[in-house]
Amino acid sequence: MAEHTGEPHVSNRFYVVIALILAVLTAIEVMVFYVEALAAVLLPILLVLMAVKFALVVMFFMHLRFDSRLLTGILVWGLFIAVSITLALMAVFGKFAG
């Protein structure tokens, strides 16, 4: 059951590329925020971009991509409960009532 852990076989360049993508995504986020035309779809866009950035960091900077699946499991469970409770609470407080 022991899996490979420790340093991933990726170069510094790879990390720089990821960082660049992150920077670009952040730039896009801020841009769409200012574009009036997108106001309607702002929410979905921003949430998607946020999720992508999140995923990039945990997968590559935090090595989940190369590390034991167990670690991914731990994070996913934590996130799952956390997000569910957040949504449930907001629902109870009528945040989705429109």
Binding site: A19, L42, L46, L49, M50, L70, G78, A82, T86, M90
Partner: protein, 189 residues
Amino acid sequence: MHGPTSTGIPTRKLGMWTFIGSECMLFATLISTFLIYRGRNVVGPYPEELLNIPFITVTTFVLLMSSLMMVLALAAVQRGQRRASLLWLFMTALFGLIFLTGQYIEFSHFVHEGLGLSRNLFSSTFFVLTGTHGAHVAGGVIWLGTLWILALRGRLSPERAETVEIAGLYWHFVDVVWIVLFTIIYLLR
């Protein structure tokens, strides 16, 4: 004390990950509160009057880049490149400090505009939420500082890279939290 572990994952690393799993709940609670109370203020100043997107975008960028510094630092330590390790560890901590300074400027601006901690629901939730995150960053900076000193003393040999990796996990998580906060607090209205 115990040789190969049942999962193959180093014990301290696994510990950090479980801790991170728990931290998710911590920030989720803060974020829930922030979202539930959004728009329920009875007195101003209101967020849209004060939030300075361009400014925060910069600090956000800085924090993102500190994550890059962090991975480079880890890689350097793993490869046993002492000078590189020193440099990147220092940069990570430095960027962290810059972020904190930015936060300090933002906070004092708000207070100056009459938005004290107990002014309205926005200020209460905002300060406690971002403050908790800031505290995490500060803790990370101190941690990185000690690692830097270790490196300086030449005590960060590749065998002890795990220590840096764990600090890195923590640092990246704090960064990830900010990615979420940035969107939720500043961009979503």
